[in-house]
Symmetry: C2
Subunit: 556 residues, 2 copies
């Protein structure tokens, strides 16, 4: 019988920000760690979300035993509804993580068929040849775990997302002891979060925001609105606590905020003292000096609570001079324009707005480890192999360089990318293997359907100079081309300016048709291409534009 | 006769980043300060640049005496070719500023007709009732001036862009004495740059980058490429100087880099020691340990030198392991994705890449004043009225708040926006006046033509779900509609998936036509609208998409 080995197959999140997914396979058994989504770049026109291509998993469907989730952020669970539809295997996760998954699956009508297995930090589960211990780690949301996995060739640790928060809001610290224990036993490979590798020093504790929030709550002459990610249960807890200590009550606005507070509260993971909440329908009449409102919409999402409040278009709350808005979240690159537009609206109504701008004590802290925490983790685990996860290429590269510099990796630092597997063999070697099918699948969330590259290329082309549709008509009895080409356009030139250009363009089409041989006229694809080329040349010369040209031949 | 007064009319740059333009009018005489462009947000599809709407200037063409430029950055001079075409008045600017303007005008064939008037710091010119002294200020480019303008109702100061650099690279400090002198004489109104109002403290001197650049140049085992804005003559000077001091020679790549170095050198504003340059055709063979290359393309512009080098597609230079790239520029929000993609390409070829990431000594510094400099300026000038310029609304608002806090404004802080004038009267009052025509004009740089809002809306719609063109044919002899509707699409569904949907969509069109009364059939616009509505409903229901639907009726 052949020696056992372990394949680690990155299916997402290595070389891109988001859609984290890693498969581990030993013999005929495979597990998948996380199934995240990615929000598309603006250039992916009309695409709502991006998920990993799971062709590799489908090809090896018979081996797949389970999906194991590290925590409940979208970039770790957001692809679950799409992937479970095809690959309905058991799903392991902590209580809060599964509560979030449950809601997603319910929206997609998949909750009844899903097999969800709740685990807790400190527990161990066996899945095929893998024995998985769940280790508690600190992060910006709650109930997060790293995985310590005993495999036939050695122990593998996957950190999930983490920071080392010495003073976590829920009092549950990063499980340094477990990592130390594994470090002593000997770890074959460490797979670890690279998100903040560009940040020197230590990421501040979640508690670091208390000072400033309390100061702002106390100083506020009227209402306070705090906007944070609705999954930031620590932040929500702190807002509730600080509000209580300064004599303010808390209102909730936005569906995800209301839902997540309810979920976390029901699970006993959020302390909400009796009488500390204000019903949303009472917000307008409640004493503004005694009110804090938690609202979703930090990224200025178009229909979010905060976006609507900013333009005074929210049924339940209006803001005016002397009210305060605190944006307790990161301004995610790509969203700046929208966020700053929202902030401008608030300033125009003379609201006091506070957001990350590099001064004073922080009103937001990151949930990911900075360089010094990464170094401590590498020292604790001192693995034989180290694989940076979760990051664009530059971040993986710099995390690899940082690990080299720390010097605690006894074997090798492996710089993998999505789709590029590594095989760990029984004799302690690691080999990079041929790429497997992997990549991005673009999903239109309206239809839940994949959007193909070619369609997006066309949309991009359409978006630049619009579309021009020349139509020629062929008499099906005589085979003759009628001498009345029509041209319709959109997004090209405004109607009044375009008349003359289009009249001339019709002549160009006519000339192309007339100048073609009768053989060419028989082959519609040739005629179409000739029209396209001639029209393109004409339009580019006379308008300097390159619209998408879509010739149509009609037989009537 | 009526009392004199002064109108200040912001035509761009107040409430938006870029396209700076301010008109000053007294009686029948008007001057314009700066004529900048703005780079469009990504959502303005197919628009290359945005310039101010100068309807107000055209309406008052007979009053316009001159355009006065503060410095040569695109957001201050970039609209010149478009505006001079309509309003050919004399243009005042410093030597380097006019050299850059000249190049732009030449590209647009306007150089022969333009009337350019060179001025220098310390000089005074009279334009109608305005007596303008040019005050030297420090910034990230050279030859920058503020304007101190004597008007019939008092002295007005316009700072242009500035920081207070106590150790400028060219040895020409910010003219504190002139500002102090005007402060003593009494200033009616100060108009001032708000760009960096969110930054506490002092902006570091341009010299602050020397330490790190020298360290990196010395440490580099092979070639060094430095990318900076080609207008950053100080930065270019420092790279040339440091290269010399560590025994490296300098190559230049990128058209704007080569052009600007030539212009600045010709004007004696850049010291290039004999023998310190390497010809571009020799870069490949030159000893890499003795080479620094200055390349344009900090923002990863698609055809720029650095973008091409990153993918090893530059004729004159290739990079490999041990080479160094230093991005000595700001990562402008909106460009992150492209810049980081470029950085990833460089890391993939094992190039050592350095970019702004918050650690170590800076490799780039801003050219705009931070809060403490703004406070010093307000104390020096102690104007009666203060008007924040150059910023999005939140920045203008915070600059206004900062001025209130400093307390040196004896009259009033005026928070204006583009299009909202203020009138200063002879008796020392200021009145905000009715808005004038102002706004943004979108320009397609290929055609130099304006792009209308409706066209951009269509492009946006096209970009989301593509276009669907249903075509029905009417027999011009019988007036009958032929029962063969055709539908063509692009950017909608991939061809293979879409066949059935389109077949069914044809039936929908057919049914709409058949179900219409003969009166409806006579009115083509009614038929088109019915087809559009029915098809929209059908497609949205069956594909959850909302393509732009463009019905065509052909008479044959």
């Amino acid at each position: 019988m052949s020696q056992p080995s372990l394949w680690a197959v990155p299916l997402g999140g290595l070389g891109e920000f988001g859609m984290n997914m890693l498969a581990l396979r030993s013999g005929d058994d495979m597990i998948v760690i996380d199934a995240g989504l990615m929000f598309p770049e603006q250039e992916l026109l009309g695409v709502d979300i991006v998920i990993p291509d799971v062709t590799y998993l489908k090809q090896n469907k018979h081996m797949l035993r389970a999906i194991v989730l590290t925590h409940g952020h979208e970039d770790h669970i957001g692809a679950m509804p799409y992937i479970l539809a095809d690959l309905n295997v058991p799903v392991y996760g902590t209580q809060f993580t599964l509560a979030l998954v449950r809601r997603r699956l319910e929206e997609h009508g998949l909750l009844d068929v899903a097999r969800l297995r709740q685990i807790a930090p400190g527990q161990t589960t066996e899945i095929g040849p893998f024995q998985i211990e769940y280790l508690h780690v600190t992060h910006s949301t709650i109930d997060c775990v790293a995985l310590a996995i005993r495999t036939p060739v050695g122990i593998v640790i996957h950190t999930g997302d983490y920071k080392i928060d010495p003073t976590p809001v829920d009092g549950k610290p990063f499980d340094l002891h477990a990592f130390a224990r594994y470090g002593q036993q000997g770890v074959l490979a460490l797979f670890s979060d690279s998100t903040n590798v560009e940040r020197p020093g230590f990421t501040p504790s979640e508690r670091a925001v208390v000072v400033r929030l309390e100061e702002l709550f106390r100083a506020a002459p009227a209402k306070v609105v705090v906007s944070c990610f609705s999954s930031s249960i620590h932040r929500i807890q702190q807002v509730i606590d600080i509000a209580g200590s300064v004599g303010r009550k808390v209102g909730l606005l936005g569906r995800s905020m209301v839902d997540n507070v309810e979920i976390a509260h029901d699970l006993g993971k959020l302390r909400v003292p009796d009488g500390s909440l204000v019903r949303s329908q009472d917000l307008r009449t409640f004493d503004p000096r005694r009110l804090v409102v938690l609202a979703s919409g930090t990224q200025a999402e178009p229909m979010s609570a905060l976006s609507r409040i900013a333009v005074d278009n929210h049924r339940l709350l209006s803001l005016a001079e002397n009210d305060t808005v605190i944006l307790s979240a990161r301004i995610i690159p790509g969203n700046e324009k929208a966020i700053f537009r929202m902030i401008d609206h608030l300033f125009r109504r003379r609201v006091l707005v506070y957001y990350e701008s590099g001064r004073n004590a922080p009103i937001h802290v990151s949930g990911h480890a900075s360089q010094e925490e990464m170094k401590i983790l590498l020292q604790l685990v001192r693995p034989k192999y180290f694989v940076p996860l979760h990051g664009e290429y530059r971040q993986l590269f710099q995390h690899a360089a940082l690990a080299q510099q720390v010097g605690s990796v006894s074997g090798q630092v492996l710089l993998l990318e999505t789709g590029r597997p590594v095989e760990f063999t029984a004799d302690g070697h690691a080999y990079e293997r041929e790429p497997v099918a992997a990549g991005r699948v673009m999903v239109d969330s309206g239809s839940l359907e994949e959007v193909e590259e070619v369609v997006i290329r066309d949309r991009k082309h359409l978006s630049e100079d619009g579309v021009v549709v020349p139509i020629i008509v062929i008499d099906k009895h005589t085979g003759e081309i009628e001498l009345s080409p029509e041209i319709v356009t959109r997004g090209f030139l405004p109607a009044e300016d375009g008349q003359e250009t289009l009249a001339r363009a019709r002549e160009v089409v006519l000339k192309t048709v007339e100048g073609s041989s009768s053989e060419e006229k028989m082959d519609w694809s040739v005629i179409k291409e000739k029209i396209r080329v001639d029209l393109k040349r004409y339009l580019n010369k006379h308008t300097s534009k390159r619209p998408l040209i879509l010739p149509v031949i009609l037989e009537v």
